[in-house]
């Protein structure tokens, strides 16, 4: 019986091992193709490893960084993601605290509005939202976070509310009786308790914001050269003329590498955050 079980476990291990190699293969394929010379990249040879003749070294990366505007796109992506995540975390946690602790018709209505906004597809708003953003002059990478706060509030408020219901209200009441103002109570008492949820929501929002394509594509003012990495990668393909596969794949790799580094560093939090987000959702 016992021997039988270890044999079965070993077989499962081997199957999963093969499967996980297949799982990461596409990323490796892009990696070694991005090291090839432009002339050596064609649809039929994507599986071949670069040889000494076709190896281009880091030329594609240098090309993408210097002449294809990767650095500016990276900077804008970073600014948008960071400002939006910070804004969403602070504003939505405050809003969620108010909603859970104040028990009136309008706090309930607000809660259901937020839940409703989670399900509505972006296509419903895309035209009017980009027009509104244009009119309010929110179409730069430094102000788009307000749009993201509005559009991304649903998930964040929903998750914070779910967690806040389980915090005992007595702690907050004690702080208030001792003379704390609501603002102080929130930042000194509630926010520290909320830390695990803040991390979870932060991770979910970061994953969404860093990779979002359509919203920044429509909202950002492209005549001023604002673009994020997904928009840049789409540009390689969408623009007229010959597609430069080398710099495109280098850009793809440079989009993935930071993600993988962050993932390896705080894997535990990410997986926990996803699980928590789903259970609340």
């Amino acid at each position: 019986m016992n021997q039988n079980k270890t044999l079965k476990d070993n077989i499962t291990s081997i199957i999963l091992g093969v499967l996980s190699i297949a799982w990461i293969y596409p990323v490796f394929m892009i990696l070694f193709n991005s090291l090839k010379k432009e002339t050596a990249i064609s649809t039929g040879t994507a599986f071949q490893l670069p040889t000494s003749e076709t190896l281009a070294g880091l030329a594609n990366y240098v090309n993408a960084l210097t002449s294809k505007g990767f650095l500016t796109a990276f900077w804008y992506s970073l600014v948008i993601t960071l400002t939006s995540v910070v804004l969403i975390l602070i504003c939505c946690s405050m809003c969620a605290w108010f909603i859970t602790r104040v028990n009136t018709w309008y706090s309930k209505a607000l809660y259901y509005l937020f839940v409703f906004s989670m399900v509505v597809p972006f296509q419903m708003l895309m035209f009017t939202l980009s027009a509104t953003a244009d009119r309010l002059k929110l179409s730069s990478p430094y102000t788009i976070c307000i749009i993201y706060l509005g559009f991304g509030a649903g998930l964040a408020v929903f998750m914070f509310c779910g967690f806040m219901k389980s915090i005992p209200i007595e702690i907050e009441e004690a702080a208030m009786i001792d003379g704390c103002s609501p603002l102080r109570t929130f930042f000194m008492v509630v926010l520290p308790i909320l830390k695990p949820t803040l991390i979870s929501v932060g991770i979910l929002e970061t994953m969404w914001l860093w990779n979002d394509y359509l919203l920044p594509y429509l909202v950002l003012d492209r005549t001023k050269g604002y673009m994020t990495i997904p928009i840049l990668i789409q540009y390689f393909r969408g623009s007229f003329g010959k597609v430069e596969m080398g710099p495109m794949m280098a850009s793809i790799m440079m989009n993935i590498i930071p993600i993988i580094i962050v993932y390896l560093l705080c894997q535990k939090h990410i997986i926990k955050g996803v699980a928590a987000g789903a259970v609340k959702g």
Partner: protein, 283 residues
């Protein structure tokens, strides 16, 4: 406490609410209104009655996109959930390398839709060239299969994490009691694990259904709707109606399609949530 807090609403609620009005409520209501109008810019819209809706419901491309999306969603939901559940069951047996496998399977989730689409486009086109078959953008069935594979690759890891969390939250006593009573592994799976996993199954089917219906980035990058709009899903079809055509009538049609799409997603989410919630067991 409630009274004191109420006075502080400008600090707590106002910033989020103001942004929510700008980013959601106002565009939503405006979009709803514009779906009954003919317009190019929002300022110059003329009321058009139900014409936009009638056009949308009779356009062959839109109907094709609907059936294509529905089929894709059903197939991908089944594939993703079965595979994710199987992997989750294998990974909760405490075999060697569980952590590495879990990390690897989850990894594609962190990569964005556009990037994923191009990665798989390169890979599929290479396979198809080597087999001497037409490229991805020339043959619609390949586009469909490609989208399903891509979606599986991305979503299985995510759903797996949820299933693992669900499996780990089943009290050990249940499994032990079943074993003492002489239940086989298969009976434990069907009679103990799956009923207790119902909440996770609800969440995962719900997520993969709505993800399937709302899919846009992957569709745009992998096939772009080629050949001749045959692999266009609803979201991409709406986008193309808005931005891919010239003429005063198209934006109104697009907005009407978007409203229909929105209603569809809402109905599906609602039905699905009710249907599976009723099957859950209480712990």
């Amino acid at each position: 406490m409630e009274k004191a807090l109420k006075k502080y609403w400008p600090f707590f609620v106002l910033p989020t609410f103001a942004a929510f009005v700008i980013g959601f409520i106002w565009p939503f209501l405006q979009g709803l209104y514009l779906s009954f109008c003919k317009f190019i810019t929002i300022d110059r819209a003329t009321f058009n009655g139900l014409k936009n809706y009638i056009f949308a419901l009779t356009e062959p491309d839109f109907l094709h996109a609907f059936w294509f999306t529905a089929l894709f969603t059903v197939v991908s939901t089944i594939c993703i959930n079965l595979a994710a559940l199987a992997i989750a069951l294998a990974l909760t047996r405490e075999i060697k390398g569980t952590n590495i496998f879990r990390s690897v399977f989850f990894m594609p989730n962190l990569i964005g839709g556009i990037v994923l689409g191009y990665i798989w486009q390169i890979l599929f086109n290479c396979v198809l060239t080597l087999l001497g078959k037409p490229l991805l953008s020339l043959h619609a069935p390949y586009g469909f299969v490609g989208l399903v594979i891509l979606m599986c690759w991305q979503q299985i890891g995510y759903m797996m994490i949820i299933y693992i969390a669900g499996l780990q939250s089943i009290p050990g006593d249940y499994l032990e009691a079943a074993r003492i009573d002489g239940a086989t592994e298969r009976q434990i799976l069907w009679k103990v694990k799956l009923p207790n996993l119902m909440p996770s199954i609800t969440i995962c089917t719900f997520l993969s259904l709505t993800n399937g219906f709302k899919l846009f980035d992957q569709n745009l990058a992998l096939t772009g709707g080629d050949p001749a709009h045959k692999t266009e899903m609803l979201a991409l079809n709406i986008y193309q109606t808005f931005y891919g055509r010239a003429g005063a009538q198209w934006k109104g049609y697009g907005q009407a399609k978007a409203v229909l799409f929105c209603i569809l997603v809402l109905v599906i989410s609602f039905c699905q949530l009710r249907a599976t919630r009723s099957k859950e067991v209480q712990q």
